[in-house]
């Protein structure tokens, strides 16, 4: 039956996922049986009682016993399903007290996460295996929704409020999370990677941002950062105008700012644009970029600059 479940549902990333799936599969089989029963009755009757000219049909107006049975039995079934669903809901609603807390800020169309030690990431979460993690979430603009299919959890993120969701990951490796409440143009691109690490890897990742970067040339690493850290949402690489200036041919160019002054786009300019984006605003654009201070580790900044240099 496991292969059948995996045909319909995503991989299970937590014990909670297995519980949800148990109810899902129960409902699936129950529905299948009921549906086949209804379909069989409808088709069987249509064939068995096929029209014969002149045949008189019996005048059956009702049958109280039967009607009580088919009202009460489904009701009882519904009571069972309600409590089954409620059991899972109670677990989903109340995070264990010892959970690690991650602050989530959702914004069109980027996720930022802040760890207890102050580390920040964008569109990228690492969590230690076997430990409950609680996400405390808010939005800076419109509604969003933090949805982790493998953990079977999601919750809306409401501006002006904090909402919570939690899970205990049990399966090492990559999973993904995504926005499930419509938020405009970039809604379907608002997704990111959730990596479940063992304790040691997680600690190391927190300190250094991991050493994955050593496996790639700087410009390739930079290209990956562009996707992962959300740069791609606003900065194109083909010259198309986005929320921010395109990166195509930007390196080495003189840019005119909104205050009329001009600056050369060099390494120092690019680094400043990432750390203090509102210090200089290119003419014709709005001051809407968030600071990536703490989000980008030194290797990430180096990689991004190397990558931008390649975009002639």
């Amino acid at each position: 039956m496991e292969w059948f479940r995996s045909l319909m549902l995503p991989p299970q990333g937590s014990a909670f996922a297995a519980e949800v799936d148990a109810l899902y599969m129960f409902l699936f089989w129950l529905s299948a049986v009921l549906f086949l029963g209804i379909a069989f009755a409808a088709i069987y009757f249509a064939i068995r009682y096929k029209y014969v000219p002149g045949r008189v049909t019996p005048h059956i107006t009702h049958n109280t016993t039967l009607e009580i049975v088919w009202s009460v039995l489904p009701l009882l079934l519904c009571v069972v399903i309600f409590f089954w669903g409620l059991e899972g809901w109670m677990k989903y609603s109340v995070a264990p007290g010892e959970s690690m807390e991650i602050q989530v800020t959702a914004k069109k169309w980027i996720w930022t996460f802040e760890y207890p030690d102050g580390s920040r990431t964008a569109n990228d979460i690492h969590v230690p295996v076997g430990k409950p993690v609680k996400f405390i979430m808010t939005s800076e603009d419109v509604l969003h929704d933090f949805f982790v299919p493998d953990m079977r959890v999601k919750h809306d993120i409401v501006p002006g409020r904090y909402t919570e969701v939690w899970f205990t990951p049990t399966v090492l490796g990559p999973h993904h999370f995504t926005c499930a409440e419509y938020c405009g143009k970039g809604h379907s691109d608002m997704m990111g990677k959730l990596t479940v690490d063992n304790e040691a890897d997680f600690k190391k990742w927190l300190e250094t941002g991991g050493d994955d970067w050593k496996n790639y040339p700087p410009e390739v690493w930079g290209q990956m950062q562009r996707e992962q850290k959300g740069c791609a949402t606003c900065h194109s690489i083909d010259g198309t105008r986005g929320q921010g200036p395109s990166w195509k041919g930007i390196y080495g160019k003189m840019e005119t700012m909104s205050d009329g002054k001009s600056y050369l786009v060099d390494d120092a300019y690019l680094q400043e644009s990432m750390m203090q984006p509102n210090a200089k605003i290119v003419k014709g654009f709005e001051a809407i970029m968030p600071s990536f201070q703490g989000l980008l580790h030194p290797q990430d900044i180096r990689g991004l600059i190397a990558y931008i240099k390649t975009l002639k």
């Binding site: 045949r55 669903g85 299919p149 999601k154 809306d156 002006g160 995504t178 499930a180 405009g184």
Partner: protein, 552 residues
């Protein structure tokens, strides 16, 4: 067997077709535009809502075509970009819900048939009836304007604060919805008064056809729930126009409040959509089974029960939206209660077929399609009513599939079945039966290909309203798109043979199906004032016993 109304004995040629009927009693465009005849208004509504269905359907095909591949490319060109996609699904939803499904059955078929079924000359307030049609036109015009000037991309739910902060024609769209709401309220008022006051002599409440019961229950919801939508739209407009903080947290509002208001209308609206569909099925099944309806009172009461329960379950749209956990638990429990009257109806229809004398003309093919599709729609609702599974499935394609099974597989299939059932009465013409069944089969197959697939997409974690999607979902998306072509083809065939039937001379008998309700007593098409003389109730509806006396 003294003139029993049975299929073997339809009164073809029982009496000559009257020279004058409601279609040719007066002529000229103005005679239609200023008509207060419920039948003409019903026909105008039919044309109007079917036009809206066509436009909404084109948008649906475009959505599916865009999602055929993750690159959205057709012949090397990107079909539409993310912004356009968002507008297209918004228009698809808004048109289908507000311009098509909500007014569809009440405006067209109920308008035409309800007074006939009651043996009445017209609805209680004929002028108000015309006014509600023109309000519909006004609302539709506003909606079309908002389409042309600055597209709306909020989704048909207009969730705040997105809808209060985006730079587009949301204001016009909310005005459109507001206007359409009043159209719906007037129709509801009219049907309530008509049902109370204009029943034929001898017709008590439990002698009314079940279509009337369903329409009556719907009218109650229309009158009670729609004003809340109107109020919500006014608040939304006030916030946008005058920056009054109601829903936008930046100026002190609460976005979740909007969702409460919105679903307080829009959940009952689900029953405005489905209860008339069920009401049509309650007519078609006994007629083509030539057997009395099983559990008349249970079906009548279950329509009213659905209408009332519909007001108590709006919070099930918001399990993970930020309402209190306790409220969520209560809404889940109440939601399960909806399963009971729905199930009761389904079982009653099946029991009506038991030992019937069943012929599978096109309307009955649609009725059986309805039973199967509505069963799937209802059963998958349980996954969403149960709390823990809903957390995973809400806001995914599972929800999209579920409500399409209820709205399209339920209401629209019943509506198409009803159009076929009453087509001879409305137009005086029979359509091509063979093509009718072929098209019904195509619609059934195409619909299941399109939407059954989406349950699996949703379960796998594919969120709704997504322009881009992960490659892993592509095979299912492609299959769903292929299904939409089959479905579209089926519906085009329906349009083709129905329109073709209008080109031939009138050939429909007064009672082609052997129906027992009063609309079959008059000529096809009916005369301007419906009946030559006031019909009097002589037997309960759906009485197929021999010795039924024939009405004059």
């Amino acid at each position: 067997m003294a003139q029993a109304l049975t299929h073997s004995d339809p009164h073809i040629g029982d009496r000559p077709r009257p020279a004058k009927n409601y279609l040719n009693a007066t002529t000229g465009i103005w005679s239609w535009m200023s008509t207060v005849d419920h039948k003409r208004i019903g026909v105008m509504y039919l044309v109007a809502v079917l036009s809206a269905f066509f436009v909404g359907g084109m948008f649906a095909l475009l959505i599916r075509l865009t999602l055929l591949t993750p690159s959205h490319k057709l012949f090397g060109k990107v079909l539409i970009d993310a912004d356009a996609y968002n507008r297209v699904f918004t228009l698809h939803g808004a048109i289908m819900v507000f311009l098509f499904i909500i007014p569809s059955i009440p405006g067209s078929l109920a308008n035409f048939v309800l007074p006939l079924m009651l043996g009445a000359k017209d609805v209680a307030f004929p002028r108000l009836n015309l006014a509600s049609f023109y309000l519909w036109c006004g609302g539709a015009a506003l909606a079309v304007t908002s389409m042309i000037f600055g597209a709306v991309d909020t989704g048909w739910t207009f969730y705040t604060p997105y809808s209060t902060t985006t730079q587009n024609a949301v204001g016009l769209m909310t005005m459109a919805v507001f206007t359409l709401g009043f159209s719906s309220i007037f129709t509801g008022l009219n049907f309530i008064a008509t049902t109370h006051k204009l029943r034929a002599p001898g017709m008590g409440w439990f002698d009314m056809p079940l279509f009337v019961w369903g329409t009556y229950a719907t009218a109650i919801i229309q009158v009670l729930a729609t004003p809340v939508l109107g109020i919500t739209m006014v608040l939304l407009a006030l916030e946008r126009a005058f920056n009054i903080g109601i829903f936008d947290p930046k100026i002190g509002g609460d976005p979740v409040l909007f969702q409460h208001f919105f679903w307080f209308y829009s959940h009952p609206a689900v029953y405005i959509m489905i209860v008339p569909g069920m009401a049509i099925i309650s007519e078609i099944i006994p007629t083509f089974s030539r057997k009395t309806i099983f559990g008349y009172r249970a079906i009548a009461y279950s329509s009213v029960a659905l209408a009332l329960l519909g007001f108590l379950v709006w919070g099930h749209h918001m399990f993970v939206a930020g309402q209190s956990e306790l409220a969520t638990v209560i809404f889940s429990a109440l939601t399960f209660l909806v399963a009971i009257p729905s199930g009761v109806k389904l079982f009653n229809w099946l029991a009506t077929m038991y030992k019937g004398n069943i012929s599978l003309e096109t309307p009955m093919c649609y009725a059986i399609s309805f039973l199967l599709l509505f069963a799937i729609g209802g059963l998958t609702g349980i996954f969403l009513g149960a709390l823990s599974t809903d957390v995973h499935l809400t806001d995914t394609y599972f929800v999209v599939a579920h409500f399409h099974y209820v709205m399209m597989g339920g209401t629209v299939i019943a509506f198409i079945g009803g159009v076929h059932y009453w087509w001879p009465k409305i137009t005086g013409r029979m359509y091509n039966e063979k093509w009718g069944r072929i098209a019904c089969a195509l619609v059934f197959i195409g619909f299941n290909m399109t939407f059954l697939t989406q349950f699996f997409l949703g379960s796998k974690g594919m969120p709704r309203r997504y322009y881009n999607y992960l490659d892993q979902y592509q095979p299912l998306h492609a299959f769903s798109t292929f299904g939409s072509w089959v479905l579209g083809l089926g519906l085009f065939i329906v349009a083709a043979y129905l329109l073709a039937s209008l080109r031939k001379p009138m050939d429909a008998p007064d009672n082609p199906w052997g129906g027992t309700t009063m609309e079959w007593l008059t000529s096809s098409p009916p005369i301007e004032h419906n009946f030559e003389e006031q019909p009097v109730l002589e037997h309960e509806p759906y009485d197929y016993r021999p010795k039924v006396k024939k009405h004059a």
